[in-house]
């Protein structure tokens, strides 16, 4: 059977990988991925054929993986976090129509929302939205609309891709939209380099977040109306003590 596994490494690629992800990588002939993610696992899998492609070459990367699988190799394409959350799983399925003999299987990983939440405390205990602030493939208007809806319905909000060289003020713009409905005192947090060297966590208010500088390796959390800071941790009660 011709097989392509799309594998989530979790946030750091190490201890947060699942047993299933490890077993798939050990069984693969070839591992394909974005250079930065391959570097996270290069040491452990140096005996495998490793193929890397740079950023923005997502279509080429997936086509390479499908082509290699079609040629009879067992291929694992690795993604940081979960391949099913802003990762490569969808693109692989879309492209796989050209390689109908290749069977795809997604191996889930810990996505940054869950990994970062664990570092901060427990901000995602109630209904939440994941929103990417990258407008490379999504019109900014659609992002704005989702931010507004999330704030109006009092969701906890987790922001992916909050900033980049070209989008330095996007987090500020997003906070301004959230601040229409949410209080500037709303507890928030952000985590950089989750599960990697240099991991750092910050707890602050939405008003302060508006003026914070974060980079593209940061995941941002904005509380709902019930979120509190308890002993320095960001915690959204689910309601067990109120019922």
């Amino acid at each position: 059977m011709k097989k392509l596994y799309i594998v989530g490494l979790g946030p750091g690629g190490g201890q947060d990988m699942t047993g299933r992800a490890k077993a798939v990588l050990e069984n693969a002939d070839v591992i394909v991925g974005y250079t930065v993610y391959i570097d996270l696992i290069r040491e452990d899998y140096s005996h495998k054929e490793l193929f890397t492609t740079p950023m923005r070459k997502e279509v080429e990367r997936c086509e390479m993986a499908l082509e290699l699988a079609n040629g009879g190799k067992t291929v694992a394409m690795v993604c940081s976090g979960d391949p099913g959350v802003y990762g490569m799983a969808g693109l692989c399925y879309e492209l796989s129509e050209k390689w109908p003999e290749v069977e795809l299987e997604v191996i889930p990983g810990i996505t940054a929302a869950c990994g970062g939440a664990a570092v901060l405390g427990a901000p995602l205990m109630h209904d939440f939205c994941l929103i990417s602030l990258s407008d490379l493939m999504t019109p900014w208007q659609a992002i704005e609309k989702r931010l507004r809806a999330a704030a109006q319905a009092d969701f906890v909000v987790c922001l992916y891709n909050p900033s980049s060289h070209k989008r330095k003020d996007y987090l500020q713009k997003a906070c301004d939209i959230l601040l229409v409905e949410k209080s500037p005192e709303t507890p928030c947090g952000y985590v950089g380099q989750i599960g990697r060297d240099g991991e750092s966590a910050t707890v602050l208010t939405l008003g302060e977040l508006r003026n914070a500088q974060v980079d593209m390796f940061t995941t941002v959390f904005v509380g709902n109306s019930q979120t509190k800071i308890l002993g320095g941790r960001l915690v959204t009660p689910r309601g067990y003590l109120q019922r």
Copy 2:
């Protein structure tokens, strides 16, 4: 140091557990959890002290874990999926104010949204909301408001706790709210018993989902306006092929 780990088992408690979760369980003196989750790992950890409490006894369970940790044992409290997503992490932090010497650490796991998405294909590739349909601790009005906001802003929606004995028609009510904005042809899916014996996946339209019968061990996915069914898989394109 007095320590309580709140550990995510992932969907099934087996292959989808992370290396970090496994290491924590192996290092623990005591493992505490809801009976059903302890049963998932009982065989592998029969040499540990295992404490179980029934459903609805969440406060007692967390207090027991904190008390044991305070007594000097290294305690792991296990949750299905991710303890930070509708799990016990938040409640442990809330209660821990009574046991200030106990340090808490959350070990994230694969939540049902990510585990179920991987089974169905790639439905969560773009911005999505997680909404629990349980109104045990959340007024139904708040749930309705979130469903409406999610539909209006074209989020993919993932529903937790879609049904129970007392809430047989809640999924139908939720679908009716989503159908105000979303087409009845919107591709949807649901997965039962993710990662466990009897795992089953169904792909269908929102119109069909409205009349489906699902149980409390099911996670439901409702696509956005771009979600498609490709070769039987539920796939939300992120836009790589459109840019």
